[in-house]
Amino acid sequence: MKINVKLVGAFRVDRFREEVREYRAGTSVREVIDGLQLSEQILGFALINGIHAEFEAILQDGDSLTILPVLDGG
């Protein structure tokens, strides 16, 4: 299935900003994160089609997944 993956902030460094990527059916958000080797240290949250989602959520073909670093302080 095709998932539009968007990375935010430091996750873009040496990776990409937005990319349509191919995954097997039943892939979870967590598996995408692990596959991209995103740092747990700064892992914040994920949006599926703009809505906050659990890392265990299963993606559907055509979903847009945004992965963001944590938001902390100012």
Binding site: V8, H52, V70, L71, D72, G73, G74
Partner: protein, 612 residues
């Protein structure tokens, strides 16, 4: 401090703090070892100072009865990482209720002044009345205990925060400093004066890399008292950390709340600046006085775009491994580092950048630097200016002040300089007073008279219950954006329980980045207290003390005349909702009404007797 107990929660009076009270009018001073009233006193910071402020009925910030209390926290100067904080407390010139009474306030910053102050042997300094002449105050250690001297400060008058510190360093090369700028000196027309705190980096590099206790105009109160600077002169006394503290410090770096704001090169997010990227995903980066436009304009100040043209160096406070500073300098033609410009933290960068229509990093840096040099709170300054620019945008035929509009760098510079010199009270006295004078209050982005931080109020109705400004005394700023919570139950729980604990750091002497999400009621802090003082304190003891201190702040606000209607985000947010913000609406009048009812229903019964 002196400790005659290992159980300060049940036996606080066996803990004594060294206090010096100075009558600035007469020069008389007295020292005493004061027994603590409760665990809040033991922890220090605002937990102690607010109890003292509660004992005074103050009707005007600029009166002799309003003290300036300078103190530290229990872990300031300890081996616990980030233990650098100094606290300045008093009734605020800028934050006040609609009936005209000033609110109690504290402000805090890092730098090395706090540790040096603590190492003189003094825990708290209370300034009474005001000096007839400008003075600076030297606090130094001696064989017979801490000593305090008042000295003429005529030679410091008119100097910037940085230049005052540089001047004093020549006379006190082994000391650290707290100084106001011209804004604080011109306290009559500037209520947002900050206190600059010197850093090791600043004293070595001679670059203006101060830290600031900015919020609430404590620098203006200091200016009113005619104190231009404080000098803390002591030998360094930081011991080698114990295994317990080493483990806690390691956890701060590797597993605690700070890991995410470390430099990108270490796998972190790159300091608080990283908030830009996250908030932009929701079109929730403040633009042109908190009205995001649903476009990509904030991206111009994304780190990835700024670093193409400027040199960005990750640096840290003294012996802090978090390294959250992003110091921005010009980049020379050969790619080497040029002149230092400013430190890019999320708040100043946004509020003196994108939110005033400035999208050029060099210009934003200059505005931040100007505000810092004149010694003003970047949040209050930026938000008051953005209000004035918004007014001019709405009234192009009859603009106020110098007629500045969003993005007009030169004219915004003028506003900052004039405000810093005390020549522009319209800006210097903050957005509440300016908006009331102009009769257009709905888009003045303050709550309870104190300008809000750079998180859209649409994402944070918790601002209303923050007791010392915006996000740093109520940690709900990420509850919707980060955690996705848009239901009433989560917000009631966040405001009345989980997120108020952020203020614990403003008692104990640690920076919030020690563990921003969890507060001080953690095993890490318990271990540090055991190791440093042989204290047996539980996480429950700490949480209870923090809650009491927070509620005392809320009770003090009500005593100073705030009506419940003042505990609300700016009216524009719910009267004219911004359709560009891509977040669930949690600031409708209905939601706010329910939230207020339930939050007060929990808080109010607990407020009784807290100020007795």
């Amino acid at each position: 401090m002196k400790f005659a107990t290992t159980d300060p929660a049940t036996n606080p009076s066996a803990v004594f703090y060294k206090q010096c009270t100075i009558d600035l009018q007469t020069g008389e001073m007295s020292f005493s070892d004061v027994p603590c009233r409760n665990l809040e006193d033991v922890l220090g910071g605002f937990g102690r100072s607010f109890q003292d402020l509660a004992q005074r009925q103050i009707d005007s910030a600029y009166c002799d009865e309003n003290p300036l209390i300078v103190n530290t926290g229990l872990l300031t100067g300890s081996t616990a990482m980030t233990g650098m904080r100094t606290y300045f407390s008093g009734y605020s010139p800028i934050k006040g209720s609609k009936v005209g009474l000033p609110a109690a306030m504290w402000s805090t910053g890092s730098g090395k002044f706090g540790a040096k102050f603590k190492w003189t042997g003094l825990d708290e300094l209370i300034f009474e009345n005001r000096s007839a002449q400008p003075v600076y105050v030297v606090i130094k250690e001696s064989a017979v205990g801490p000593q305090v001297q008042l000295k003429s400060a005529d030679h410091l008058l008119g100097l910037s925060t940085h230049d005052k510190i540089m001047s004093l360093q020549k006379d006190y090369p082994d000391a650290h400093f707290a100084a106001i700028g011209p804004a604080g000196e011109n306290w009559q027309n500037n209520y947002m004066g900050a206190v600059a705190l010197s850093t090791e980096n600043q004293l070595k590099s001679k670059e203006d890399k101060c830290r600031f206790a900015g919020r609430g105009g404590m620098g203006s109160l200091m200016g009113y008292k005619n104190i231009l600077a404080l000098v803390a002169q002591s030998s360094d006394k930081q011991a080698k950390p114990s295994e317990l503290v080493k483990a806690a410090n390691r956890n701060v770096i590797e597993g605690g709340g700070s890991a995410r704001i470390q430099p990108i090169s270490r796998g972190g997010g790159g300091g608080t600046w990283a908030a830009y990227d996250v908030l932009q995903e929701f079109h929730a980066v403040p633009v042109n006085n908190f009205r995001p436009q649903g476009n990509a304009i904030p991206e111009k100040l994304f780190r990835e775009n700024v670093e193409k043209e400027y040199d960005i160096k990750s640096e840290a406070c003294y012996r802090c491994g978090i390294t959250c500073h992003n110091n921005v300098s010009e980049k020379n033609a050969d790619g080497s580092k040029g002149e230092f410009l400013a430190k890019f933290d999320y708040e100043p960068l946004n509020l003196l950048g994108t939110n005033v229509g400035i999208h050029d990093a060099g210009q934003a840096a200059r505005l931040i630097q100007l505000g810092d040099n004149y010694g003003m709170d970047a949040i209050s300054l930026g938000v008051t200016i953005s209000y004035a620019l918004a007014y001019n945008e709405r009234h192009p035929e009859k603009p106020i002040l110098n007629g500045a509009f969003f993005g007009d760098f030169e004219k915004i510079c003028e506003l900052i300089v004039q405000a810093g010199k005390g020549e522009l009270p319209e800006i210097g006295k903050g957005s509440m007073r300016l908006s009331e004078k102009l009769g257009e209050t709905s888009y003045a982005y303050h709550v309870k008279g104190l300008e809000i931080a750079a998180y859209q109020p649409e994402s944070n109705p918790g601002y209303a219950w923050a007791i010392a400004g915006g996000h740093m005394s109520m940690g709900t700023y990420g509850l919707l954006t980060r955690e996705g919570k848009s239901d009433l139950d989560s917000w009631v729980q966040g405001i009345t329980e989980d997120k108020l604990h952020i203020v614990g750091f403003d008692m104990i002497g640690l920076c919030k980045f020690f563990d921003i999400a969890k507060g001080i009621g953690t095993q890490m802090v318990v271990d540090c207290l055991k190791s440093e003082f042989d204290f047996d304190v539980s996480t429950d003891d700490l949480r209870a003390a923090v809650r009491r201190a927070f509620l005392r702040g809320l009770a003090l606000e009500l005593r100073q005349g705030y009506s419940k209607e003042e505990f609300r985000v700016p009216a524009e947010v719910y009267e004219d909702p911004n359709p560009n913000i891509k977040l669930p609406n949690i600031t409708s009048p209905e939601f706010l009404e329910q939230l207020e009812k339930r939050v007060w229903g929990i808080f109010e019964p607990e407020l009784e007797g807290l100020l007795d």
